[in-house]
Symmetry: C2
Subunit: 209 residues, 2 copies
DNA sequence: TAGAAATTGAGGGTTTTTCCCTACAAATTT
DNA sequence: AAATTTGTAGGGAAAAACCCTCAATTTCTA
């Protein structure tokens, strides 16, 4: 059971917000309004799927500032910026920072909805990946230190006797750990295990500059 | 031995080109100039590492048009757009299409060089990945149709007897193919094989089980 | 058309993995 | 104090994988 997507709108302009809501709701999407960036940040829940329609210029915290704070929180909610002013460097900066779109007023309803759909699709596939990753990590957490060492040996293609020599333990012990790893990771073959470890890499959160 | 990176500059403005060349060459980078997009396209060689500094507005083919054509060619050369006019929708469009940056004149030398460095790093890691991929694909090409079927079986964790039943051939034959696959792919263990197939994805047509 | 590669099958043997069982000491948790 | 987890280790047996050689088709290619 997954939650229904919510299109968050963060904009201080009452008329604009109303107009946006009307358009978005007209296609059956759920909308939540915030007139201040901080209010959104306070209410933000990472597990809620959706996307964020974010005004650039606002009193208090600006759109780009909110984007930075969300990035710092490792939030992956796709952001569509909305701006009334044609500031190219700003647009480029927020796009480079991961925004999925940057719309300038006035814009066509269809353009907006298309962008929102794209953002929601983006969010969905992203969440599915995170889901898999979380499940895999939960399994890794079940392994004891010794089991992890054996797992690494298996994944790098070492035979049990090699692992036993490296860890300076008996072949029998390696067999025991190996069986335990397979059980805890709930896989029935080595290829499955390798896939699980490889696709949902234990460490290395991909840091891009 | 890898080729030296080249910073391609495509711009019809002679003064601009000269200024850019001077800045880029001042840090020891190699530059090649084109005053028309078509000229670049004609001279373009996919195997040449580097990046592309591309003016938006030009007589004949525009910058974004060139970007489209390069995309159609599956070219992965990172593109930095240069524009004198603040066109936000255009900037957003080309960024969404994969441009690594979009600079507006006038810009600081340092900003330009930083962007170029980023683009070159981008290109380098990209090429390294493509390199690995190409090597893996070269190995895949060595496999006979039957061997590929057996490979798929192995990677999905099936035992030889299961594979033999599915392909309706003898266990001995599967063993023979299996050995042949390991040899041709130059791996010594199943985990290595799985990694090779997984990281350098060979899109397998969905096999019914 | 002759040779090379692919596909198939087999015999026979070794090595490795897997699975069943047992066992015990130390640390941790309940 | 009792139960569980972790790490250790062994015997024994079945299954699977890994080696080697040999050979009959078919199919592609020089």
């Amino acid at each position: 059971m997954s939650l229904e997507a919510i299109v968050y709108v963060v904009d201080d302009d009452a008329a604009m917000v109303e107009s946006l809501s009307w358009i978005i709701e007209s296609v059956g999407l759920k909308v939540k309004i915030f007139t201040q960036a901080q209010d959104f940040l306070d209410a933000y829940k990472p597990e809620q799927p959706g996307c964020l329609l974010l005004d650039v210029r606002m009193p208090g915290m600006s759109g780009p500032e909110l984007q930075s704070k969300l990035l710092a929180l490792n939030a992956t909610l796709p952001i569509i910026f909305i701006s009334g002013h044609g500031d190219v460097p700003l647009a480029v900066r927020v796009m480079k920072a991961g925004a999925v779109d940057f719309l300038t007023k006035p814009f066509n309803d269809q353009v907006l909805l298309e962008s929102i759909n794209r953002a929601l699709r983006f969010d969905k596939t992203n969440r599915e990946k995170q889901q898999e990753n979380a499940q895999a990590e939960a399994k890794f957490a079940l392994l004891s230190p010794r089991e992890i060492q054996v797992l690494q040996g298996i994944v790098s293609g070492k035979q049990n006797k090699v692992i036993s020599a490296e860890l300076m333990i008996s072949l029998k012990t390696v067999e025991a750990h190996r069986a335990s790893v397979m059980k805890k990771m709930s896989v029935r073959s080595v290829p499955e295990l390798v896939k699980l470890v490889l696709t949902n890499g234990v460490q290395d959160p991909v840091t891009q500059e």
